[in-house]
């Protein structure tokens, strides 16, 4: 069975190679090749899953060793895949949601002449993401980590003719470099501390290392997670990443890649458990981000950016849960999966709306769309109910557990974190209701554009609605399937471990409180956007609204602190470089060049001087050999 694991990766990788190297002759069928191979990977995933289910919990780890990259004493770089409950969960999410989004893209990208290349990139993404979650060591994980970064870069900038898309891709790439640097430093630290970077030996020998070192490793891993998962302070790229085609936003920047940071933290749980200071930082990052994203999401009029704020906020929940240690690991992953369903569904719904509205993204120019696109309305609505945590739907089970876990942390921290999580739930209800009302309810607000084309909203083709319907099913039922009877907990516990914690308040109280803030959030949104018409031009708004529209000034902050500071630093470094380093380097280079030029003159083209040189060489060779004997 374990020999199938490599096929999971091989199928989409083959797709990427075929589609990217295949050239124009594949234009007609490329999208189906991509979809087929991604589905093949999903089918293999399901086969492996049923196999795992048939085994006892302790035998549910399959390993496949492919080859050793660099075999040196003391430095073993293996290409080995590990399939356990945690990676299995991700495999199903990635290939399942991935295949649906491939199918959706067939319709969505129909009129794009570079559709084959798009599918090639999507397949490349799937392969890299699967390497990331299947890797058995941090080095191979890093390969996947960089691979998804590359795919994300290529796909955000897919419409590279738009300067905004090209800039957004560059921004995502640069911000991610900061995180990637963290991961590489963490791996190096791990190597110097443990002498290896395979999961098994590292995580089981955590006790041998000092807490200071572990805190360092954990903080570097957190930095990596912040970059990939758009957590404060490396959150700024995610909003701009919405410049990519909507299926990309759904797959990469909502359901899968951005959750890689959560995976990294949960996978490295043993390290974080032994570094409580780092865990505290993780929870703070999570709590801050969940509020940050939610506030940004309230102010955006661009439907995709509002959803991006929401993604950031929901991942904040997951990071918060992951920072809680064994109390929260399982729920972080559970929320990750349910979020994968409903957020992908919401994005696909947003894409469907844009598809029918001539790619308009401003929600102030929507309104009343429920009559025009019933399927989109219903599926989006179910996703909406799921994300706000409507009782019985997916988000209810997973988010409620995280809020409970935050309180269960105990002490003042528990109250603060739990309070933040509750507040986040209220804001989530507000901004999602706002999106829902502005898009599907009220009066139609769209106008003919400057060319006189009035949008004719219509339902999207079957290839797009089917994935939305499937994801809506997931949004409705996944939480119940996972949550009732603690099925997900029992499944994942052998890998991540679990503790109950000691909550100062009962679970029922938390649930009730969540319901109350939910109702409050929805009610405020209704009062603001449902009862009275939405102005087609955004009002000036309060100071907070204006700040939130500018992503809470994140770019201004980055500009002032990092860009300006960086410029100053660069200038002074350039000065040192010019005067000191260049002197040495150019001096060396010039002397090499000069030497090269002089030596070159020996090569004068005359066979006779070549022969003399050979003769001299031979004489020296013989003389030196004799001399060696003499001394």
């Amino acid at each position: 069975m374990e020999n199938l694991i490599a096929l999971l990766v091989a199928a989409p990788l083959l797709g990427a190679v075929v589609l990217l190297c295949g050239g124009r002759r594949l234009d007609a069928v490329g999208h189906w090749i991509g979809t087929l191979l991604s589905s093949a990977s999903f089918v293999i995933g399901v086969v492996l899953f049923t196999d795992l289910l048939g085994k006892n919990a302790e035998h549910r780890t399959l390993m496949q060793h492919l080859w050793t990259w660099v075999p040196v004493e003391g430095f073993q770089a293996d290409v080995t895949f590990r399939l356990d409950q945690l990676s299995m969960t991700f495999v199903l999410l990635i290939t399942g949601v991935g295949s649906l989004i491939h199918l959706y893209s067939v319709g969505y990208m129909e009129h794009d002449e570079r559709r084959r290349r798009f599918f090639g990139y999507l397949n490349l993404f799937l392969a890299a993401m699967l390497i990331l979650v299947l890797a058995d060591n941090y080095l191979l994980l890093y390969v996947g980590w960089e691979g998804v970064g590359l795919a994300s870069y290529l796909l955000i900038g897919f419409w590279q003719h738009k300067p905004s898309a090209a800039t957004a891709a560059k921004k995502a790439f640069l911000v991610n470099r900061v995180g990637d640097m963290g991961l590489s430093i963490a791996i190096m630290l791990m190597f110097t501390t443990f002498g290896t970077f395979a999961f098994g030996p590292v995580l089981s020998h955590v006790g041998d290392a000092s807490e200071g070192k572990l805190t360092g490793i954990a903080l570097m891993l957190l930095l990596a997670a912040c970059g990939k998962s758009a957590q404060v302070p490396l959150q700024s790229w995610l909003g701009d990443a919405m410049e990519g085609p909507t299926p990309v936003s759904a797959l990469i920047h909502a359901a899968t890649m951005v959750t890689a940071g959560v995976y990294l933290i949960v996978r490295s749980g043993a390290i974080f458990n032994a570094a409580p200071d780092a865990q505290l930082v993780v929870t703070v990052v999570g709590a801050v981000t969940l509020l940050f994203g939610a506030i940004v999401g309230c102010a955006k009029d661009d439907i995709k950016k509002a959803l991006a704020g929401s993604t950031m906020s929901q991942i904040g929940y997951m990071v918060l849960a992951a920072g809680l240690g064994p109390i929260g690991y399982v729920f972080a992953i559970m929320h990750l999966v349910t979020h994968g369903f409903f957020k992908a569904g919401l994005f696909l719904g947003a894409g469907s709306v844009m598809h029918g509205m001539n790619d308009e993204v401003d929600m102030r120019k929507y309104g009343g769309l429920r009559k025009y696109m019933p399927v989109t309305f219903i599926t989006f609505g179910l996703g909406y109910l799921a994300i706000i945590g409507f009782p019985g739907l997916s988000g209810f089970f997973s988010k409620d557990k995280i809020i409970e876990a935050a309180f269960a942390k105990g002490g003042t921290e528990g109250w603060i974190l739990g309070g933040a999580a509750l507040l986040g739930a209220a804001i989530t209800a507000f901004y999602m209701t706002r999106v829902m009302l502005m898009t599907f309810f009220g009066e139609k607000r769209w106008q003919p554009d400057e060319n006189g084309h009035e949008p004719h909203p219509h339902e999207s083709p079957r290839t797009m609605t089917i994935p939305m319907i499937v994801l809506a099913f997931g949004s409705v039922f996944a939480g119940g399937i996972f949550g009732i009877g603690d099925r997900f907990l029992h499944w994942l516990e052998p890998v991540t471990g679990h503790e109950e914690g000691n909550s100062p308040v009962s679970a029922l109280t938390v649930t009730l409180a969540t319901m109350v803030v939910l109702v409050i959030g929805v009610a405020i949104a209704w009062a603001q956007y449902g009862r009275r018409p939405v102005p087609a031009v955004a009002p000036r708004g309060s100071l907070l609204t204006r700040a939130a529209r500018r992503d809470l000034l994140q770019d201004d902050f980055n500009h002032v602190v990092l860009v300006r500071g960086g410029e100053h630093l660069t200038r002074s470094l350039v000065y040192v470089d010019h005067t000191l380093v260049d002197g040495v380097v150019n001096g060396t280079a010039a002397s090499m060049g000069g030497l090269s030029g002089r030596l070159r003159k020996l090569q004068n083209g005359y066979a006779r001087s070549y022969a003399v040189s050979m003769f001299g060489g031979a004489a020296i060779l013989v003389a030196a050999t004799l001399l060696m004997r003499a001394v």
Binding site: W67, W69, V79, S613, M614
Partner: protein, 551 residues
């Protein structure tokens, strides 16, 4: 040794043993089959030239050569699978040929290089058609004077030099014997068998014929000069040991010989003969691998020879010559290693540094690659010096990796053309990445591999030889090696920068669309470069298994 002594020896031997008692030589045809297949095919190629009509000769020659190379490779694989590389390794053909791991490994590499090299020989779509005939990289008629009427007539008649295919096969047969030769005479014969066809091939360029002929003459003169040294060294060693056989010489060197040839009793054991003779043979081999200071033919010949020949020669000659050098140093002269190691240290250091430094100021891509090959010879010498089993296997691996990258790189050079044929001046390559991203990207892969960047074959190879050298006690050599790699990286990366970050010139070259033949060559080379870089383990293991010489 007096003349009478020799004479009496000869006469008494004949007198004591009547003719009838001369034993029939025992030849293991099966184990020699790779060489025999190639030689046979080369002879068939000569017959094809004589009897097949001109129109169909090309196809017949390509067919014969491909079949022969594939069959010979299959024979090598069969022998290796049969255990001749490990447990059944032994000395065949009355002591002339060693059939062992290094032999079979290197023969496999040479045959594969020959095969992919042959594809570039057979390429006929790059040059524009001349008078309605497809032409390859070779002169229409080698004997016609460049620029003469007879040349024009030959071109007009659509002649092509299909003799290159048998010449290639003859060269390959010599190269197959060279690393497996187990006595000095066989070594010398093999050396000449593979050198002579190469001299001829170098002279046969279709474009820039004068440059090509000049290269061939230089190569021939200097090659003959080096052969003379080798031959003289062989004579001295025979004088020292009284035998041509590697095993016997090794026994004399370490003093374990039992029966002493009476005729040579007065000279045997004279260490001066041994040291001078050994050094001279080594010098001949260093000439073939292009080590400094015997390297000066390399840039001129690489530049002047037709590029397919350059690619083949750069790869296969190096493989064969390093194979012979390894066997000589590890089988014949291990007892002398305290004498030759310091000398080889020096050669390796000046080769690495010399190649890398002079390459910096080159402006012609073929000369650049020539100097790069010199630097690589230095890196391989570092592995040779290790004198351990790891040293052998790392050199074997390096040679395999290097030969594919080299052939691939020269194959790309044949694609970039302007009105005068191949555009080899570096300034013409500016902005190539914008015009033909795929070709430039492929070339960049080869350059990165030459530079030894991880995930390419070059990294794995360099890592292996440096590791072996460091473990073999040559750590300072590794430091020099890494430094010269850094110098070398400069000019490789410079070409990449030139291709991708410079504006294309308006009069820049075009990239010809090759036939599937050259595409296959380049494809195989890229695949080998990446596979050996990403997953070298299997091939390292293979080289490691093949790393023991039979004595």
């Amino acid at each position: 040794m007096s003349a009478t002594a020799v004479h009496s020896l000869w006469t008494t031997a004949a007198g004591a043993d009547p003719i009838s008692k001369i034993p029939t030589p025992k030849i293991e045809y099966g184990q020699l089959s790779p060489t025999l297949i190639i030689l046979g095919a080369a002879l068939i190629g000569v017959l094809v030239e004589a009897f097949v009509p001109r129109k169909s000769r090309y196809y017949a020659q390509v067919f014969v050569s491909v079949v022969a190379l594939c069959a010979a490779f299959a024979a090598v694989v069969a022998l290796a699978a049969d255990g001749y590389g490990t447990t059944k390794a032994h000395i065949a053909a009355m002591g002339a040929i060693a059939v062992d791991g290094p032999s079979l490994f290197l023969q496999g590499v040479i045959l594969l290089s020959g095969l992919v090299g042959l594809f570039t020989f057979a390429e006929r779509r790059l040059d524009p058609e001349a008078h309605g005939n497809r032409v390859d990289s070779f002169a229409a008629q080698g004997a016609s004077v460049p620029g003469s009427d007879s040349e024009k007539a030959a071109v007009k008649a659509g002649f092509t030099t299909t003799e290159v295919f048998p010449l290639l096969l003859f060269a390959v047969s010599g190269m197959l014997v060279f690393p497996s030769a187990n006595d000095l005479l066989t070594l010398f014969v093999a050396l000449e068998v593979f050198s002579l066809p190469l001299y001829l091939l170098c002279a046969l360029a279709r474009r820039k014929r004068l440059l090509s002929q000049e290269a061939a003459v230089k190569y021939f003169l200097l090659g003959a000069f080096a052969s003379a040294f080798t031959l003289f060294g062989i004579a001295l060693l025979y004088g020292y040991a009284g035998s041509m056989s590697y095993a016997t010489i090794a026994q004399v060197v370490d003093g374990s010989i039992t029966n002493i040839n009476p005729a040579l009793a007065d000279t045997m054991g004279n260490d001066a003969l041994l040291l001078i003779g050994g050094a001279m043979i080594v010098m001949g081999l260093l000439f073939k691998v292009g080590a400094v200071p015997f390297h000066m033919w390399t840039p001129d010949v690489y530049q002047g020879a037709p590029t397919p020949v350059t690619g083949f020669m750069a790869a296969a000659t190096k493989v064969a010559a390093f194979g012979a050098l390894l066997r000589l140093l590890y089988v014949v002269l291990p007892g002398l290693r305290w004498d030759w190691r310091p000398v080889m240290w020096g050669v390796a250091i000046i080769t690495m540094l010399g190649g890398a430094i002079v390459a910096i100021t080159q402006t012609d891509i073929k000369r650049l690659l020539a100097y790069s090959s010199i630097a690589h010879a230095g890196f391989i010498l570092a592995g040779v010096i290790a004198t351990t089993r790891d040293g052998v296997s790392s050199v074997l691996f390096y040679l395999g990796a290097y030969s594919f990258v080299t052939i691939g790189a020269f194959a790309v050079v044949t694609l970039v053309r302007d009105a005068g044929g191949e555009a080899t001046h570096l300034s013409k390559w500016a902005g190539l990445g914008r015009r033909s991203p795929l070709v430039a990207a492929v070339f960049a892969v080869f350059l990165l591999s030459f530079a030894g960047i991880p995930l390419t074959a070059g990294f794995a190879g360099k890592f292996a030889v440096f590791k072996a050298a460091a473990a073999g006690g040559a750590a300072p050599l590794v430091v020099v090696g890494v430094l010269s790699s850094a110098i070398a990286a400069f000019f490789y990366i410079r070409v990449i920068v030139l291709m991708f970050f410079s504006e294309p010139r308006p009069d820049g070259p075009t990239v010809a669309v090759p036939s599937p033949l050259t595409m296959a060559t380049i494809g195989v080379a890229v695949a080998a470069t990446l596979v050996l870089g990403v997953a070298p383990q299997y091939f390292l293991d293979l080289a490691n298994q093949a790393g023991v010489f039979v004595r």
